[in-house]
Each structure stands twice: as C-alpha cells, then as structure tokens.
C-alpha cells in the first residue's frame, strides 16, 4: 500500500515537467544559408513512435497530404514546392486502394528561398496543415511558423 501510494505521488510530480497535452508530432524550423541570397528553410516534423505523417504527394483517395502554405512576401522567390528529405515509405492500403506515401519518426520538408533584396525582409511566414495517424486514430492539425532567414 505504502509503495503504491508513493509511486502514485511521485508519478504525478515526475510528469510535472512534461505533463502537457499529448501531441504525436512536433515541428522544428531551422534555416541554412546556401548563398548570400539563397536559403534553405527546413520544416522538420518529429513524429512519435507508432505514428505516421504523410507526404505532400500522397495520392488522392487516401490520407490527406501535408500542405505547406507561405504568406505572400515580395522579397522572396520560392523554388517550387518543398523537397522532402527522409525516408518516404510507400504502402498499398486496401482500405483506400491507393499507395500511401508516408513518413515515420522524422520528415524534413526543405524549401529553397531566394531573397530578392538581401537587405530586405527576411521573416518568412506560413502554415502547415498535416495529419498524423497511428493504428487506432487520426489527428489533423495546423502549425504556424515565422522564421528569420539567416
């Protein structure tokens, strides 16, 4: 009884440090300078074990693809859609009858950004709509970002 009780109390406080709302995926945003006026924006999804998030090019009819949108900014030229770095897995899902393109553990979406004026605005803003699923549930979420290219 005593052990049980103490474990109970200790668990409560141990979770104090990370008792926030469960999120199966979290995002990091970093930048890398390629040239004086050319930058890579890395949008990295860290995905919990057992969960998956989906490629921007997963075929229609299955899970919703990840969609990245940038706010309009006249100082940036975007080099097409973001590249996907990491292992894109492909699996035929009978439920949907399509090949699903997905990521486990980590997905790095890399957007090339060219600055028209190197002395101009360097803050790139946008949002990502994505979904994550595990065996028993799916969550759709939106994440906004504002990153300085440097």
């Amino acid at each position: 009884m005593r052990t049980l009780l103490l474990t109970l109390i200790c668990i409560v406080l141990a979770s104090l440090a990370h008792a926030q709302i469960v999120k199966p995926a979290s995002w990091n945003f970093t930048t890398k300078k390629v040239k004086t006026d050319l930058y890579e924006l890395h949008m990295i999804a860290n995905i919990n074990e057992g969960w998956a998030t989906y490629s921007q090019w997963t075929p229609e009819g299955g899970p919703e693809p990840t969609v990245i949108r940038f706010d309009k900014n006249t100082n940036f030229l975007l080099g097409g859609k973001a590249k996907e770095v990491g292992i894109v897995k492909k699996k035929h899902e009978d439920v949907f009858d399509v090949d699903v393109h997905y990521f486990r553990h980590q997905a790095d979406f890399v957007q090339l950004v060219k600055l028209k004026n190197v002395k101009g605005d360097r803050k790139i803003k946008g949002k990502i709509n994505y979904m994550v699923c595990d065996k028993s549930q799916c969550i759709t979420d939106e994440v906004e970002f504002k990153v300085e290219l440097k």
Binding site: I9, L16, H18, I21, C138
Partner: protein, 387 residues
C-alpha cells in the same frame, strides 16, 4: 531575486541617507539594473554555456524538449559537441520558457528537467556525477527546484506517517495550495496548479488560476493552464447522463438535418465521428455494419458524422464501404468543436432524447481508448437494449 533585493536595498539607502556617494552608486546600480532588465526583457534568444568537469572531447550533447517515452529525440533544440570540457547552445526557446533535457551519445541518463528561457544561462557539473547539473541564470528553474524539494519533503512525511491515499490527497492539496498562494506571481506556479487537477474541484482550480498575477497568468505555463481549464470545463458537461447540444449535418441529398432529430428515430444511436481519409475509422466499418445488421430492428441506429472537406471523397467512401446507416457531413466541425474531439474515430452513444449513454471521445485530455469498438460495441448495444 538577487537583483531585486539589491535594488530595493540601494533604493532605501538612497532615500535614507541621501548622500552623494550613495546617490552615485545607486544611480550606477540602477542604470546597470535597468540595462540588464531591458536586456532580459527584449531577449528573444538564449545562450547556454556549459562546463562539465571531466567531460571528454567530441561528446555529442543534445538539448531536447519533452522527455521522450522512447529513445527518439523530440523537438531537439540543439546539438553541440564538447571541447575542453565545454559545450554551448544558442537559439530561441519557443514560447519564451519551457522544460528541456540534456542527453549525450555516451551515457543513457538524461538530466532532470531544466527550465530554460531566452536569456544567458550557464550550466555546471561533473562528468562523474552526470546527469546531475546546476543551471544558473534561470529564475523559473530555481522555482522548479523549490517545487521538487517541496514534493520530496511531502513524500518523505507521508512515508514516515505511513499515510493512506486519502490522507495523501488532502496533504497534497494543502501543501500545493499554500505554495501557490505564496507564489502567485511566479512563472511556474500555473504548473503547480496543473498538478492539482484531479486532486481538487474544478471550481477551486479556477479560483487559483484567477488569483495568479498577470505575469504568471500570461506566461506560457499560465496560458496553457488557462486553455486546459477551459477545455476541462467544456468537457465536464459532456458525460454519461447529460443531454448533448444539437447541431446540423449536410445530408447526401444536400439538405440539412439536426442530429437530435435523426437520433430520435432509434432507441439508441451511435454517433460515429469519422472521415474518408482516416484508415482506423474505415477499418471499423465492417464491425459497425455487423452490429447494425444484428441490432437495427431492435432499436439500434448509427449516424455517420464526417469531417471530410471534399464532398466527392466522402461520397466515394460511402459507396465503397456500402454502410447501411445514415450519413451526414460536418465540414465546419461543429460536432468536433462541441465535444472537444481531437482525434477520429470518436464514438458517442445517445438515446432518443439525446442523452449520453456511452463514450469514446479521443481528446488529448481524455486520452485514447477502445471503449466502443470491436466486441465491446456489440456488448454495449446488447446491454443498453436489454438483449
């Protein structure tokens, strides 16, 4: 704390003595302090310089957020490589403050929580006693240590008394509440209130939250507590026995229909929150079909509530899965918003008056579950229909 004390001291000295020397010292100190203060407030980035005695060169050190339940690193704020017993990180702490942990590629143990903020901080320690480290320059970290100590002492006291669970609960409430009331302006106090969720009543939690100082309430811990309490309040009304609020669905023929009126046709109705793109939802359809066929003539109905944005995708799935029950589209997510549903599939069984009989709502607070799937659904239906 140290700085605050210093300034108060010089201020009072200034008032009392009013001597030139003191005045000058005071002004210099005050100026230094304001510079420091402005500096601290405007900081949007942090620096963490670390010195661990006995640390070899070339050790990879990770600064991670959230203690991962598996070996994976989550939200890595930075990676550093040690040299001359030193390593350092710089960057931005999201939301201005948060719990972080240090891990290396040579030892399994992680440090305890380090409360980092956008400021200059230092870390000291000995490799022999890793992962024990000392963090300097973070006021909320000191508060965290204070809370840990308080909790440890409380646990020791309970152990010595051989206290039972009920006593422990009361003690925890008393100890934490008195701590909260004595630290209403501190950044980490909302987190202590968070610890009392489940221990004290919701109304009391709210009172504690409202008594917080503005800084504490508007800090990132305060904001997340506020959101949590708000959503708890909403969820408290959604429980077995309560009547659900009504909302409308767009039916396949384009007409609107209210879920309460649709559900009134059966003795019991399962609300199935799903979408065409959700594999676990679709995987459950054969089981739902089986239950529907077995018990529909006894008064069991199902109402599919889809959050599909694309009507065509929804209709395609309806044809593919060939489900015999009624379906409606909830593009605006009215249902998910009312019930705080964060994940699908989620299920809710209601009677013909809209009273909740059983629940499996997937929300971060309620947690996942399989309360109305597979065989459990069949058993629940049989029980509710007295079969």
């Amino acid at each position: 704390m140290g700085l605050d004390g210093e300034v108060t001291f010089y201020l009072s000295t200034f008032k009392m003595k009013f001597m030139k020397v003191y005045k000058l010292t005071c002004i210099i100190k005050l100026l230094t302090f304001s510079v420091l203060l402005c500096h601290a407030q405007n900081r949007t980035r942090f620096e963490l310089e670390s010195h661990i005695n006995g640390l070899k060169d070339g050790v990879k050190v990770y600064l991670v957020k959230d203690k991962p339940s598996n070996k994976k690193m989550l939200d890595t704020l930075g990676v550093a490589i040690s040299k001359d017993e030193k390593f350092s990180f710089e960057g931005k702490v999201p939301d201005d403050v948060g719990f972080y942990y240090l891990q290396t590629n040579v030892a399994a143990a992680m440090t305890q929580g380090l409360v980092l903020l956008n400021a200059d901080m230092k870390l000291k320690g000995n490799w022999q006693s890793w992962p024990q480290v000392e963090l300097i320059g973070s006021e909320p970290h000191l508060q965290y240590l204070e809370i840990l100590k308080l909790n440890m002492e409380m646990n020791a006291g309970l152990k010595a008394e051989n206290a039972d669970v009920a006593t422990a609960k009361v003690r925890k409430a008393t100890v934490f509440k008195s701590y909260i009331n004595a630290h209403l302006n501190a950044l980490l106090t909302p987190f202590v209130i968070d610890q009392l969720i489940g221990t004290i009543e919701a109304t009391e939690l709210k009172t504690l939250y409202y008594s917080l100082g503005e800084d504490a309430k508007n800090g990132s811990f305060g904001l997340s507590l506020g959101k949590k309490l708000e959503s708890m309040e909403k969820l408290a009304t959604i429980k077995i026995g309560s009547i659900i609020p009504d909302f409308n669905l767009t039916m396949p023929d384009g007409k609107m229909a209210s879920i309460r009126s649709l559900a009134s046709k059966n003795k019991i109705t399962l609300l199935d929150f799903w979408a065409s793109w959700c594999k676990p939802c679709r995987m459950e359809n054969p089981n739902l079909t089986e239950a529907y066929k077995a018990y529909h003539d006894k008064g069991f109905g199902i109402l599919g509530i889809s959050s599909d944005k694309k009507e065509t995708a929804w209709k395609k799935a309806l044809v593919e899965d060939n489900t015999p029950w009624l379906h409606g589209l909830d593009t605006e997510l009215a249902g998910q918003n009312i019930f705080e549903i964060k994940a699908i599939p989620s299920y809710m069984m209601i009677d013909q008056d809209g009273k909740i009989l059983a629940l499996e709502l997937l929300s971060p607070i309620k947690g996942g579950g399989r309360a109305l799937r597979g065989k459990v659904l069949h058993e629940t239906v049989k029980k509710l229909l007295d079969l």
